[in-house]
Structure formats: C-alpha cells, structure tokens
C-alpha cells in the first residue's frame, strides 16, 4: 500500500515538475511573442470579437496570417484560455504548455501498458517532463505539442485495446488517433503508418477478432474523411502543404536539374529516383547525433555549443536502453512497435524543404527520451539489483510491481546491495557522479534557454517589435503618419512579416476596425496612421510631420541630425535594431 502511495506521489511530483517547467515565467521566456504567436493571439481576439480573421475571412480553416496559411486549430483551441484568463500575452502559450505537461502522464500510461513496470514508466515520464524539446516547444504556441499529446493518448488506448476488447475503446481509440492528424501535418503522415505497423505486428491477436479491426478502421476512415476533403480541396491547406514540401528544397531542385537525358520517360524515371534518393538521405540525416544531442534546437549561433532537442546525457542512456530492449526482450512485439514508431515519426521532417525541422520531430524526440528512461532503468537495475534481470521474471507484473520494486523500496536503497563495501561505495560514487552530470546538463539547458537564446536569436524572436509597437502607439497623437520599415536584422537584413500584427495587438486595435482599414498594395501595408513599407530616407524625410521607424539597413543614421533621432531600439544583445526618426518638415 505504501509502495503504491510512493508511486502515486512520484508520478504527481513528475507531473508537477512538468507543469512547473512549462508554465513558470511563461511570459518572460521566451522574452517576447514571436511573429507566429502575436499573429495567433490577435487572430484569436479577432475570431472571438468578429468571427473573422484580420483579413475578414469567416472562421477560416487555414489562416492566411503572415502569408504562410497557418492551420487554424491552435487558434481555435486558444480561444478557451483567452476567454478564461483574458487578454494577456502568455495566454497564447497556455494551450501548448498545458497539453505539453499532460503528455507526461499519458507517456507514463503508455509505457506502463507496454512494459508493465511502474518504475520504468515513471522514469520515462520523468525524462519527458524534463525533455528540452518538449519544454522548448511547449513554451511557445505550437500545435504539434497538442498533437503529440493526442498521439500518445491514442497509442496508449491502442495498446489498451489490444489487452481489452471493449466497445468503448473500440470507438474512442480511432477517434482520438485522428486528432493529431487534424492538428499537425506531421501526424497526418505518421499516424496512418503507425497504424499499419501496429496491425502488422499484432496481426496474430486480431485473427479471431477481425470484426473489431474492420470497425476500428471504418471509424478511423470516417473520422478522417473531412481531413482528406480539406487536404484535397482547401486552397489554404494545399498552399501550406506545397510551400513546405521537399520539392521546395533548392538542393533537390539542383539535383533534378543535373539529369541530362533526351528521353522524356527516362528523365521522369530519373527525376523520381533522384527525389527518392534525396528524401532517403535527408531522412537518415534526422538521426545525426550532433543534431539530436548538441545543437538541434538552434538556440545559439555558436556551432556545436548550443543545445539539442535531447540532453547529451541521454545519448548513452538511449544506447543502453535500445541495447537492453533488443537483448532482453526478444519476442515482445510492443518493443518492436516502439522502435517502429521512432523510425516513422522522423519521416515528416525528411519530406519537407528544411534540412532539419525539429518542430516536426517532437514526437521522435519524446520516443528517444522514453528509450533513454528505459536505459536508465536497466542501468540502475543492473547496478543495484544483484539478481540478474530477466524479463520473464517481470512478466507477471501486470499489477505494476516490477522485480526491482519487489526487491527494493526504490533505487539505490542499501537494503538491496549485497556486494562488498567498496563495491557499494563505488556504485554510490557512480550514481553521484551521474547525478552531477545530469544536473549540470539540465542547468546548461536552462542557462542556454533563459539567457543565451535571447541574446543569440534576438532577430529570430522579432525582439524589438513589441517595444517598437508600444512606442509607436505612444507617439500616435504627435504625428500625422508613422512609417515602419519591415527590413531589419542583426547580421543581414530580413523582412519582418508580422509588423501589422504587433501594432494591432499592442495598440489594442479593434479587429473589426482593422479588417476595414487594412490595405495592402505593392508599396506596403497600411492601416490607421501606420505605413509598413520600405523607407527611402532621401524621399521620406520630406514628408510632413511623420515618424519614421527604420533599421540601420535602410536609414543612413550617421548622416541624420541627432536632434531628429528620438528613440533607439536595440536587439537583446544591445546591438542597434531600429531608430525612430522624425522627418525634417
């Protein structure tokens, strides 16, 4: 009884830790809303107040937003926290943080269902709770995090269905498994493949219950019909899919252009083979160790000194976990299923135009974390339990008591150690050493995320735009016109695409009015007194009573009289980002 209490307490503690790491100072880290987030929150307000997005589209499925047609589910989900908590910047991050934290208990349930071992499931849940990629993406408004939650919930129900052929599960599971497919395109590709593998691996169990399989697949197909319709016929969704597909990859285009045959059929065959080869190469690159464990989250500009989606200490644990899973649990299809999931969930990242897209592989990182957790369990088990582990000895643990749990009240308890004094000391020393490494690694991630990330990726976070917007509104009454140049950048000029969203959101601009006043033409974007367009100082300085906010890329700041420069905006690293200059007239 006490053991069960301890386990529940441990699970509660892990979930609480997960919530803490995802919600603590959510408004401060990342330091401000990026362009995706600000567009999402203003679209949330716009939908709540007018039922339309800022461009006047009624309840769109895909939001044109900043030009890339965002799938709208996250915006609609975020309406709930907006209505509950009101208009705060961090409200847009609540949904992903919430579902990100809920993934922890779901992973616990899934692993427990598969491995029948409480301690192992707890360790896996703990690793997911502190997983850098889960924390990173949960703290920004990102729908894939919600997709990952539903995917693991679906997988858990799937495994449960395998054990218990209940009608409730039979109807619920396929429905739950379609949620992630609606939420994020990566899951739209991965979930069907996972289901195919599931039915192949466990085909023997379904031989006598063919009817169940038919019902399951029928429900699943019916539930995804609207999705298929949307993919085929919604121009926004199709545009989004095409714009991120592998065919936009400039390297693939280059490879295809190298094909030199006169014969059209041969050219077509070669193009397809080249595409498949390119795709395969890209897929394999997703498993680059440096990317996974060293720099994949792209939080710094310092080459290998960054942080990966996974902790570096997870690498040996992952290898140990994989090794023991293969070696000890030979015929267990559930283990093969986990490895297949790992292989499948990296496919979506491979078929897009970016070399690496960690945001499409979050589920893969979670699976690696799970295997790392299993690795730690095996390691601890072999270190602290003298009796050799045999999976067979834990097969009867359906009530959740592992061999480890039965022989000890927890990891590292001296009661289980029967070896010599020095050997015990060595083990404790080893444990202490491992603990220090894990702690330092965790603190390293926290440091990179909370400090270095803002300095190094200020531009990518669109750091100065909140300050610029607030300042512009503070000067709203003093000028007839406020011109903002979207070109900015720390190392090279890039075009900011959500300046109008920043201005509208931080100016509490009524969406209904924005929808009416919004005017986009070749020169730029106009609403209220604001002109968002490229600044030509030689011409624009002659505009009467205007405020020009522009970056040094377009403003000859050294030749402008300092009296006219009324404000300077810096990137987070204190390098100049923008200047606010009043015109000479």
């Amino acid at each position: 009884m006490q053991q069960i209490r301890v386990r529940y307490f441990a699970l509660f503690f892990i979930i609480a830790l997960g919530f803490f790491l995802r919600f603590y100072n959510l408004d401060k880290f990342p330091v401000q809303l990026n362009h995706d987030e600000v567009s999402q929150i203003y679209d949330v307000i716009s939908i709540v107040e007018t039922g339309k997005d800022i461009y006047g589209n009624f309840m769109p499925v895909a939001f044109p937003s900043t030009g890339e047609y965002k799938v709208g589910h996250y915006i609609y989900i975020s309406i709930i926290p907006y209505l509950i908590f009101g208009n705060h910047e961090e409200v847009i991050r609540y949904s992903s943080a919430f579902f990100g934290a809920l993934t922890i208990p779901v992973v616990f349930l899934f692993i427990f269902q598969v491995m029948r071992n409480h301690s192992m499931a707890l360790l896996c849940a703990f690793f997911v709770a502190i997983n850098p990629s889960d924390i990173f993406y949960s703290r920004k408004s990102f729908e894939n995090v919600i997709g990952v939650f539903f995917a693991f919930l679906g997988l858990y129900l799937l495994m449960k269905l395998l054990e218990k052929n209940s009608k409730f599960l039979l109807f619920l599971t396929p429905v739950i498994l379609t949620f992630p497919m609606y939420l994020y395109t990566a899951h739209t590709l991965a979930i069907p493949l996972i289901l195919v593998i599931f039915f192949i691996l466990f085909r023997k169990k379904f031989i006598n219950i063919k009817k169940t399989v038919v019902i399951f697949i029928s429900i699943w197909l019916i539930t995804i019909l609207p999705l298929i319709y949307l993919i085929l016929f919604n121009p926004g969704i199709r545009f989004r899919a095409l714009s991120v597909s592998i065919f936009q990859d400039i390297n693939l285009q280059k490879q295809i252009s190298y094909i030199q045959t006169e014969d059209k059929i041969r050219t077509l065959v070669y193009e397809n083979i080249t595409t498949v080869i390119f795709l395969f190469n890209k897929y394999l690159k997703q498993f680059t160790p440096g990317y996974l464990f060293s720099y994949g989250l792209d939080m710094t500009n310092q080459s290998i000194l960054g942080h990966g989606p996974l902790f570096a200490f997870e690498l040996p644990l992952f290898l140990i976990g994989a090794f023991f899973l293969i070696r000890k649990i030979r015929e267990k299809n559930e283990v093969k299923f986990i490895f297949f999931i790992l292989l499948i969930v990296f496919i979506p990242s491979a078929i897009t135009f970016e070399d690496y897209s960690p945001h499409r592989s979050i589920m893969g990182f979670t699976v690696i974390s799970i295997i790392s957790g299993i690795g730690l369990w095996f390691l601890a088990h072999n270190l602290f339990v003298i009796r050799k582990f045999s999976y067979e000895s834990t097969r009867d643990l359906t009530v959740g008591v592992s061999s480890l749990d039965r022989t000890s009240s927890g990891f590292g308890k001296p009661a289980t150690l029967q070896s010599g004094f020095y050997r015990d000391k060595l083990k404790i020393l080893l444990l202490f050493f491992a603990g220090v490494i894990i702690l330092i690694n965790f603190l390293y991630f926290i440091n990179i995320y909370t400090i270095n990330f803002a300095y190094e990726k200020s531009q990518q976070m669109h750091y100065p735009f909140k300050q610029i917007s607030l300042f512009a509104w503070s000067q709203h009454g003093n000028f007839d016109k406020i011109i903002i140049d979207p070109n900015y950048g720390q190392s090279w000029p890039v075009r900011a695409v959500a300046v109008h969203y920043y201005l509208a959101y931080y100016g509490n601009y009524p969406p209904e009015r924005f929808q009416k006043e919004y005017n986009l033409n070749k020169q730029g974007l106009y609403f209220d007194k604001f002109e968002i367009r490229k600044v030509d100082w030689s011409i624009d300085r002659k505009i009467k009573n205007a405020l020009i906010i522009s970056s040094p890329w377009d403003l000859p700041i050294n030749s402008i009289n300092k009296e006219y420069v009324i404000k300077k905006f810096d990137f987070y690293d204190k390098s100049p980002a923008y200047y606010a200059v009043k015109t000479y007239e």
């Binding site: 160790p289 290998i304 400090i451 300095y455």
Partner: protein, 533 residues
Amino acid sequence: MQKIIFVFIFILAFTLRINDLSFPFFTVDEARISYRGYTLSHFGKDELGRSFPVLFNASDDYKLPVVSYLSAASIFVFGKNDFGARIAFILIGSFIPILIYKICFSLFSRKDLSLITALIITFSPVLIFLSKIPNEPIVLLFLFSLFFLLMLKKLTLRKNILLLIIILFVVLTSKLAWLVLLFLIPLTIFIFNKNLNFSKKISLSLILLIIPISAFIFYMNISQARRSINENNISLFYNLTIENGLNRLRGEGLEEGINPLFEKILFNKSAYIFAGFMHWLDQLQPAVFFGEFDPNGYFSFSNQGVFQKILVIPFILGLWIMIQKKSQKTMLLFLYSLVLTFPANFKFPQTSKELIILVIPIYAIIIAHGFLDLKRLYAKIIIFIVVLELVFLFSNFASTKMNTNTTRPEWVISVLKDSFDQSLVSKQVYISDDITSDLITYFQWHNPVSQDKDTKKIPLPYKVKSTMLGNIQLLRSQDTLESCDDETKTAIFLGSREINKATGNYLLIKTYVDSLRENRAYFLRRDKCNKLE
C-alpha cells in the same frame, strides 16, 4: 572452389572499377599526384624539381610518399595517361574484396557470409570511386586488411617481417594512420590473435609501435610539420570556434548578472571533449554509410553512401541479431570500428572520411549477417534493389560530373588543350587564374610538357611555376591587359572574372562551357601584343 570465387570476385570488382576509365576527373591534388608520378618515374624529381623526396606538397597539407611512388611505378609501366594513373588503384581496389573474404572466413568460417561480405565490398560505391583515383584511403584500407589478415594467422618469422613491412608502408602512406596504429596494433594483437602468448603479444605490439612513434618523432623535427599536425590532424584544440563560442556564451551570462563561477561550470574546456565526441559520432551516423558519404565529391559519387541505400535494412537487422544472439566476434568487430575511427575526435571540425573508409569491411560483415537472416523473398527484393541502385549509379555519372563542377572540372580539358596548342604557335599565352584553381597542375598533367626543361634552372620552382610555365603566363586579378606596339601574336584565355578587362579590339575565338553549361572561359586573340602591368 575458393579460387574460382576469388577470380569471380576479382573480375567483377575490376570490371566495375575500370568501367568509364576517365571518370571521375581528377581534383587538383589527384592531378598533382599523377603528374608527380610521371616526373618521378621519368626524371627522378617531383613536380617542384626535388630529387626523390619523402614529403610532398598538396593543396592543404604535406603528403607522405607511398601514393606518389605507387603512381610513379604505375605511370612508368603504363605511361602518362589516365590508365597509367589509375590502374594501380584499380588493382588495389579489386583485391580488397578478396582480402575481406579471407578475413571474414578466418573469423567466422562461413563461406556464405564471407562471399556476401566480399560482394558488398565489391559493390560499395565509395570503394568503386576511390579505386579509380590516386588516393591514400584505398591504399590504407588495403594495407590494414593485409595486416588484419596476417594477425589472424599463425605468425612465423616470415610473417612477422611481412607485418613490419606492412606497418612501414602504412606509416609512409598517411599521417592520420599513425594515430590509428597506436590503438589498432595492440588491440588487434590482443583481441584477434589467438596464437601468441601474453609476453609475445606485448613484444610484438612494442616492436610494431616503434615504427609509427619513430615516424611521428622524425616528422615533428621537420619545420612546419608541427603546424601541419596541429591544423590537419588535431584541429580540435586549435579551432577558435569553440573558444570564441564559450567566451561569448559565458559573457552573455555575466551580462545578465549570473555568477561567474556558475558560468565557468557550464562553459569550460570540457566543451572540447564534448565537441570532439559529437563530431566523432557524426562521422559514424547512418546517413554517412547509407545516405551521402561526401557531398563535395572528393571521395564518392553524388548522393551515394558507402553502401547501397537498401542495405540499411540488413544492417539494422544485423545489429539486432548481433545484440540478441550475443555474437561476440561481431560485437568485438563493431567496437573495433569505434576504436579505429576514434582519432576523428581530434579532427573537429574537419571530416574524417579516411577513417570511415577503414571500417567499411566491418559494417559490411554486419550487413551480411543481417542479409543472411532475411527470408528468401525479402533477400531477393533487396538484391533486386541493389542491382537497380547500381544501374542508376552507372548510368548517371553526369549527375556527379555536374555536382563536382568546381572540384573536378572536367570541362577544363578543352581549355588546357587549346592553350597548349597556342603555346606552340604563339609567342605568349595568357591564362587567367580564375578559370579553375591551380590551373598549372592540370596543364602539366593533361599536356605533354617537359618537367625537366621547365624547372631546370629555376631556383624556387614553386613560386614561379604557380604563375608561369614556359611562354604561358597566368593572369592574376591585379593584372591588366594593355596593348602595345609589338606585332607578335598573343593568345588569351580568360575566365568570367577577367573577361570584362578585355576591352578594345579583341576577337572572341571560342567560348568554353562548364559541366553546368555555363560560360566559364573565353579564348581571345588580338594581333597586337598584350602587356601585363
């Protein structure tokens, strides 16, 4: 029966390697080795006029002698042509599968496994590619395979002497091998040799280790050699990226008011170990073996990994079996491969393709294990896809040619031929140095120029030869074309950078396009001379 198998494997490997002999076009370094082979074999001097040197120059490092002298021997027999320059490496590459067969058979006593491993080696795109060009890795792999095979046999005095000779050759082939030998010699002797007792193993290890250690000591006494080692072999410790990154990240923390000691704990010199370790693992990732081995085309075809892509399936299966069945020998070989490639740690941020090539046979054995465990139907499907991949590879060399448009500029041959012809009829030929890098080296290899005549009376040949060769002179970016009163004919070959300088009455005779069908060079003529300022 075994002899028939060997003949079959050799013919197959040789055919695949000799096919389309002139492909791939040489890089500057490969052209230099080939030309050096010619000058060494015919004049007893290298391309810079030094008599039978031990160390040679390359684009970015000093090179050891084995590959150059191997080229010399080959060119001496077969002449100054593609066949002469490549045949020695083709033969070496064709013998490697046989050696691997023998190693595999000695280890596992299984004919089927040995044959499949040898065939995987035979079909390896990287090994096919490397067998067609003068390079160190293929020679190293051959020598290491010989060494390993001998270690598996009962050692006699003759074999011991042979071992010494092999190690000597290895040491004279590549600097990187010195570091590898430090691990490889004791490891191979202690793990894989079953015939020696402990003290004999120690003695043999020490005797063999003397050779690389002596080479290292000797090398470090040569001026510039230390810098060469630092920059090319242990660049991890001399790379400023890590140091600058650490300082910057720590500085950002300090600016935010974080405790300096805390920042020091997080950002310190241990980052070097981590960077090296991750770099090492990056070299061993599946994408290198089954994806793309070398995107730059120095070591492999475009888009090709070490093995055919489909073989990733038997590889995973092989690993799975290796772990499940506790196959100790395979496991040891796998760990051995990690040790072999360990020096990659110190080469950050440079890649260590040479080391990866050394472990190809080990991975082939794992693949063969997996392959033999496949059901017959799946095995047939995989064989079919392997054949398809090979057909695609051999029918699509054009893709590699275009991909290596800069590093292997095949299109430059016509410029070289025309400029040589013009040098015979014109008083002066100018070639701008932006047409391709180190044009003179290509010129010497592809044209019948006489090295002895060119460099005989030049005290510092390297300095002069980089800009002038007989009546051919290179135009640098700072040079300008000026007309003068001399009526002698001058031929001018300009690249894209220089073409705008040719203002006035220049007659465009010919335009040269590169492999991407873009204009890269122009042959111009003006009947008045063009003076350089």
